[in-house]
Symmetry: D2
Subunit: 430 residues, 4 copies
C-alpha cells in the first residue's frame, strides 16, 4: 500500500483489523447455521458474538509462535469463551474462513469501485453532451485528419466505460462465492447445507467445486477487468496530456489555488495527475499478470498465491479506486479552451478537408485514382510550403470542370463532419 | 506462428490470403449496402464480386511502393474492374476494412476455440463421472491431507472450464462489432445506415462509438479470457505432471506406439505434452499483457497496436486452440493407475485420518485444544518414525475414554470422505 | 508494502522520513560544493545542517496546499533558516534532488540485497559440499532419469547465484549515478563542476546525459536482475516443495517448535515458506514489467514513472530481500532424509541404469539401434509390470553375448554416476 | 514469426534447416573431440561429415512416429552412414545437442543485433553533433520548460544505447556456454574433457554446472536486455511521434517517394514506422516476461520452457533486430524542420525564461520566496492571457530595483542555456 494513494472507504477495508473482523463474520455465520440446523444449541452464536474479542496485537503475538495466522486468530478470539467455543470453527479448515472472507473483501471493494465507475460514467456523459457541437480536429497518428466533435471524445470513453461496468458487474457476480467444504473441498466434516445457509447470510453462493480453496480464475478475471478499466483511464489521461501540451493547449487538468507546478519554473502547469494515472495503469496490468500466474495451484491447493495476494488484492483495488476517483475529479473540472480548439482546426489551411474534396471529385465523375493523385499533389505541396490548400484547389482548372466554385466553398466547412454526431448520441439516450 | 503448433482450421484463417479475402468480404458487404440503398446501381456488387481478383503477390508488390497495405489491396483487387470500381471502398477509410475484418477473424477463430472448449468440457465431465467413486489422497501443499474423490479433480476443472466458456461467450458477443464510420468515426463520408446494413450481412453490429478504429478494450478482454483459460489448462497439466512423477505414478499422459521418451534413456515416459502446455500458458499470459498495453491509443487512434496484433492475434488464437485440442486428447487418453492411487492413499499409515479423529474427540467431549494436542503429538511422532498412526491412536488410554474401539476403527475408512461427493456432482446434472 | 514481509534494514530505508533525510543529504552536498567552489560563503553548509528540521507532518501539511512534494519539503526544512537559505536548493530543479536521492536509496537497498546474496551463496556452497557424495536419483520431466549427486543441486543453485551476484554488482555500479543538471539536464543554472563535487560526496557519479531525470533504463535493468534472482529462488523453492511431497520426502523445510501446519489436520508439515517464495517470484516479475514500461518518457521527461515507482521500488527491494533472507534460513536449516533419498533411488529396480546398459552394449559392438530396441523393450515391460529390470537384462541371452555377468552387475552401481562430480566442484574451489 | 518483419540474416538463422545444421555442427564437434582424444578412430569425423544428410522432410516424417525431434534427427542424418555412426551422438543426451545449438543460435543472432546497435549508435552520435547548437524548447510533462539543445536529445539516446551495448556484450559473453554433460549434467557417460574440446571448437565454454540443460537465467537476462533496448527505441519513437504531430512539426520520419499516408486522406504523412516500433516494444517486454517464467524448471529439468522458446527466441531476436535496423533508417533519414523548432521556442513569449529571471532576482538579493511569487504571478497571468511575459517583467518596478534593463534583456536569450552543452559532449569524445 502506498499511503498517499490509499483512499477511504477502501483503505479501512484492507486493514488487518478489518480482515479479522471478516474472519469472525464468517465464523459466526457458520455457528448461526449450526444453530439453525439444531447442531449447536440455541443461543450459541449470540454467546460467541458477545464474547469474541478481536485483539490484533494478541493475534500477532500468538502467530509468532504457531506460525499460522488462522490458528492464532482462533486462539485469541475464543480466549474469553466457555464451552460454546467448541462450535467455533467447528468442521472447518482455515481456508474456509480465509477464502470466504477474501471473497467478502473483494466483493465489497469491487462494489465501491463499481460505484465510482458509475459516477465517472455520469460525468463523462455530461461532458460529451456539453461539447457535442464543438468542432475539433480529429487526429490520427498524432496528425490532423478530419474535423470531428469534441464531445465524441468523451462519448467514446463513456461507451468504453459502460462496457467495463458491465464486465465488472459480471465479475462481481462471479466472485460472490465462498467455500465451507473442508480441507479438500469434499464436505468430509461439514455438510453442504451448512455452507449454503452460512454463505447466504454473507450474501455469497457456494463455489460449485472447491479444492481446499476457491479456484483462482475468479480473481484472475476480476484483476483483468480492473486492468482493462485502467487501460481506459490511461487512454483518457494520455488524451488530456496531449491536449495540454503547450503547442496544442486545448484543455488543461485542474490546477488548484496555491498549487505549484515546478520548484524551478514558476510558469509551469503540468498534467501531473494525468501522468500519475498513466503510471498507475502499468501497475494495474502487472497485477493482472500476477493474477494469471496464481491460477495453477498444485493438486488440492498450494499456498503460493497467498503471499502474492497479500500485495495485489489491496493494492489493485485501492489503486483502481484512486484512479477512478481522480479521473472523475479530472474530467469534471477539466478546463477546455474552445478558442484554441478552433485555432487548431484551422492550422492546416484547409488540408483536413482533402478527403471531402476527393470524394466530391469522384462523385462528380472523376476516377478515384485520378482524384487521389490531384488532391494528394496539392496536399503534399501545401503541407511542405504552408500555402493554402483551399486556394490551390479552387484555382485548379481540371477540378473546376467537375465542381462549381460555390460547391467547392461549402466543402471547407467543419459542420458537415458533425452532421451524424447526433445520431451517434442517440444510441445512448437515457 | 510456430508451424508445429498451428492446427487447422485456425491456421488457414490467419494466412495473408484469408486476410485479403476477409477484406474483400467487407468491401463487398458495403457495396451491397449501397446497392440496397439505391446509391450504387443494381448489379454493382455482383459485377465487383465477379471481377475482383485476390493476387497476394501482386498486392505485396504494390505495397512495396505505396507502403500502405490497404491501398495496395484496393489497387490490385480492382485492377480488372470498370466503372463499378468507383463504388469499391467508397466513403471508407482503411481502418473500416481492416478493423471490421479483424473482428470477423477474431470472432471466427474464437468460435472454433469455443467449440474446442465445449468438447473438452464433455471429456472432463465424462472422466469426472468415471472416477467419481475412486478414493484418492487429497494433497495440499504437496503433502497428503485427507481422502477425496479422484473424479472431483476432473469436476473441478470442468466447473472452471464452464466459467471460461461463459466468459468467452460474453467476449465473443462483445467483440462481434465492426465500424464503417470513416476516418475519425463520425460518419462524415458514409451514412450510419450503410454501416448497419453492411455489418448485419457480416454478422456484426456497429461499435457504439468508434474513433478511426474500434476500441482495443474488446481485444484486451478476449485475450484475458484466453489467458485465464490457459491458466486452467496449466493447472490440469501440472496436476498430471505431478501424478506422473515416478514416486506417485497415479496417472500418465498417453504415450503413442513408436514414441520415444529420450534419446539416452530408453525407459523414460515423460509428460512432455503436459510440459508443452505449461510453457504455452506463459505465452498466453504474455499476449494478454500486450493486449492491455495496446489500449491507450492517441487521440482518434495511433497505429501502434497494429504491429503487435500481427503477432499476437494469430499466435494467441492458434496457441489456445492447440492447447485445448491437445488437452482434450490428453484427458481422453489419460491412463489412470488405480492400484497406485490406492497404494498412495495408504502411504502414511492412517495419518491422513487425523482430523477425523480430532473431530470425533471433540464431538465426544474432549476440548478442541486438548484433542489437537494429543492428535498432533501422535501424528508428528508417526510422521518421523514411520510407525502406524492408527495403532498409536488405538492404544492411547485417554482416547479410549472418549471413543470406543469399534468407532475408532470406522474412522480410518476412506469412503466416509466421499459421502458428499454425489451431492457435488448433482450441481452439474444435465 | 506488506508489513509482515518488511524486514530491517530495508524497511527503515523506505519510510517517508528516510526519504526526506536523503533529500536533505543531497541538498547539503550541493551546498557544500558551492562552499568549496567559493560560491557560498564558508560555513553556509554547517549553518544549514544545524538549522534544517525534518518534520514529516509539517511537510505533508504544506504539500496539501502546494501539491508538490519537493516545494513542500523546501518550505518546511528551511523554515528556521536565515539568509543562508538562499543557497538551499539553489540552481536546482526538484528532480535533481528526487532522482539523486532515489539513486542513493536504490544503491543502499541493493547493497543490503547483495550482502544477503553473498551470505546465501556461502550457505549453498556449504550444503553442496556436504551432500556432494550422496547419490540421489536425477529427475527429468519429474520422472526418474539417472543417478546423480544430491550436492549438485545446491552447486547448480550456487553457480546461478554467482551469476546473479555479478549481474547485481554491475547493475549497482551502473545505477550509482545522480544528476544535478537542472530543469532539462543541460546545466543551465548550475555548473557541471557543482554536480561532480556534490555527487562524489554522495558516492555517485553524474549520469552522462540527463533529461530532467536520469534515464529509466538503469532501474529497468536492476529490476530485471531482481526478477532473475527471484527466478532462482523460485527454482530452489519448487525443488524443495517437490522433495517434501509425501511420496518423495527427501527433504523438508524447517518446522519450528510450536508451529502448526494446519488448523484442521494436526499431522501436516507443509512447505509454506517455499510456497510463499514461489508466489513472491511472481511479484518480482511483475515489477520488472512495470520497470520496462516506465522507460519511454515523453520529451525531456514526464512524471508517469513516479507513481509506479512509489510502489515498486520499495516493494521490489523489500520483497527480494525478504526472499533472500528466508531462503538462506531455509537452506541452512533444511532437513534432508538420506534414507529416503536412497530408497527413492532404488524405486525403479534398476531402470535408471538403462542408458548405461545401452552404452555398454554399443561399446561392446551392438549397433545403437539394436541396443536401444532391446533396452527399451525391457525397460517398458518393467515399467508396466514392476518387474526387476536388472534381472531381465541379466537373463537375456543376446546381451550375454556382448557383456559378461560381472560387468553387467557393475553397471547397476550409482557411484559410477558420481565419478566426475569432484571435477565439477573443482571449478568453484576457493 | 511475422513474415513482414523478418529480416535477413536473422530470418535464415531461425529456419528448421538452420537448426538441424547447428545440431549437426554440435554433433560433429563432439566426434572431432572424440577423435582428438583417440576414442574415435582417425577420419571418423571426416567420414561422418561427408555422409551426413540434412533432409528436413525426412526428419519431420520420422518425428511423426517417434514424437521426439532429436531422435528423428539422428535417425535421418545417419541413414547413409556405416560403422562410424556409432560415434555419432555417442555418450550424449538430446539436450546436449539442443541446448548447445540453442546457445549458438542465440550468440549468432545477438551478434547481429549488437552490430546493428553499434551502427545505430554511430548514427545517433552523428545526429547529436549535427544538432548540437540548435536551440529548442525542452519539454517536461509535455509543457514547455526551458531551452536546450536539439542535439542533446540524440546524445541522450546515444548514451543510453551505449549502456545497452555494454549490457548486451556482457549477456553474450554470459550466454556463450554449452553443455555436453549427459542426461543429468554429471558427465556420467561423457568426460568433461570432451565437452571442453568440443565447445571450444564451437566458440563456447562449458556452463559451470548444468542439469540436463543449461540454466534459463542466461536467456532470461538476454531477453531483459532486449526489452530494455526496445524501451529505448520506444522512447525515440515516441519523441519523433510527438515532434511530428501537426501542431509541433519539428521533425518527420522519412516518407518515401510513392508512399501513401492514408487511403482516405491524401495529405497525410503519418509516423507509422515510429508507431510500429512502439507496438513492438510491447512485444519485447512480453518476451522477457516469458523468459522470467521459464526459469524455475523442476528438478534436473522439465521441458516446459521449450514450447515457449520456440516462439520467443526467434521472435524476440528478429523483432529487436528489425527495430534496430528500422530505427537506424529512421534516425538517419529524419527530417528536421529547424524553422519550426525555432518558432516553437518562441511560442510562449518568453515564459520559458522564467526560472532564469527567478534566479537572477535571488542572485541580486531578493528572497527566494518573494522572487518565486512575483515571477509566478506574471507567468500565470501571461499563460492565461497570452500577453508577453518579457514585457511584464521589464515593466515591473520592484524587479527593476534588482536588475537593470540591459541585464534583463540578456536573460531572454536561448544561447545561455546551451553554454554547457559542449562539456556534456566532451564526455563522449572519441
Amino acid at each position: 500500500m502506498v499511503e498517499r494513494y490509499a483512499l477511504e472507504p477502501l483503505k479501512s477495508l484492507w486493514t488487518l483489523k478489518a480482515q479479522y473482523e471478516r474472519w469472525l463474520e464468517v465464523e459466526l455465520a457458520v455457528v448461526e447455521a449450526y444453530e439453525e440446523l439444531g447442531i449447536a444449541p440455541r443461543g450459541t452464536s449470540e454467546e460467541i458474538r458477545k464474547k469474541a474479542v478481536i485483539d490484533v496485537e494478541d493475534i500477532l503475538e500468538i502467530e509468532k509462535v504457531v506460525d499460522h495466522d488462522v490458528i492464532a486468530f482462533i486462539k485469541s478470539v475464543t480466549k474469553n469463551m466457555g464451552d460454546e467455543a467448541r462450535y467455533f470453527h467447528y468442521g472447518l479448515t482455515s481456508s474456509d474462513i480465509v477464502d470466504t472472507a477474501n471473497s467478502l473483501a473483494l466483493v465489497r471493494a469491487s462494489r465501491h469501485i463499481l460505484d465510482s465507475m458509475n459516477k465517472l460514467a455520469d460525468v463523462l456523459y455530461k461532458k460529451a453532451v456539453e461539447y457535442k457541437n464543438l468542432p475539433t480536429i480529429g487526429r490520427t497518428h498524432g496528425v490532423h485528419a478530419e474535423p470531428t466533435s469534441f464531445g465524441l471524445k468523451f462519448l467514446s470513453w463513456y461507451a468504453e466505460l459502460m462496457r467495463d461496468i458491465r464486465r465488472l458487474n459480471d465479475a462481481i457476480e462471479e466472485i460472490s462465492v465462498g467455500k465451507l467444504s473442508g480441507a479438500v473441498g469434499n464436505y468430509a466434516n461439514i455438510e453442504p447445507v451448512v455452507e449454503k445457509i452460512a454463505l447466504e447470510k454473507l450474501g455469497l453462493k457456494p463455489t460449485p467445486v472447491a479444492t481446499q480453496v476457491v479456484s483462482r480464475d475468479y480473481i484472475a478475471h476480476i484483476l483483468s477487468v480492473f486492468a482493462i478499466t485502467a487501460g481506459l483511464i490511461e487512454r483518457i489521461a494520455i488524451e488530456i496530456r496531449h491536449l495540454q501540451r503547450t503547442e496544442v493547449l486545448e484543455a488543461m487538468e485542474p490546477f488548484r489555488e496555491g498549487q505549484r507546478g515546478s520548484s524551478a519554473m514558476p510558469h509551469k502547469k503540468n498534467p501531473i495527475l494525468c501522468e500519475r494515472l498513466t503510471g498507475m495503469a502499468r501497475l494495474m496490468r502487472s497485477y493482472a499478470q500476477v493474477g494469471f500466474e496464481n491460477m495453477a495451484l498444485w493438486h488440492e491447493r498450494d499456498i503460493s498465491h497467498s503471499s502474492a495476494e497479500r500485495y495485489i488484492l489491496p493494492d489493485s483495488t485501492m489503486t483502481i479506486y484512486y484512479m477512478l476517483e481522480k479521473t472523475r475529479y479530472l474530467v469534471e473540472n477539466l478546463r477546455v479552451f474552445e478558442n484554441n480548439v478552433r485555432r487548431n482546426l484551422e492550422l492546416t489551411n484547409g488540408l483536413v478537408y482533402s478527403q471531402r474534396i476527393l470524394l466530391a471529385l469522384v462523385e462528380s465523375g472523376m476516377s478515384r485514382e485520378e482524384a487521389y493523385k490531384v488532391v494528394q499533389k496539392y496536399a503534399l505541396e501545401c503541407w511542405e510550403s504552408g500555402e493554402s490548400f483551399k486556394e490551390k484547389i479552387q484555382s485548379d482548372e481540371r477540378i473546376s470542370e467537375y465542381i462549381s466554385k460555390e460547391k467547392l466553398d461549402s466543402l471547407f466547412e467543419p459542420d458537415y463532419y458533425l452532421r451524424n454526431v447526433e445520431e451517434i448520441f442517440k444510441r445512448f439516450e437515457k
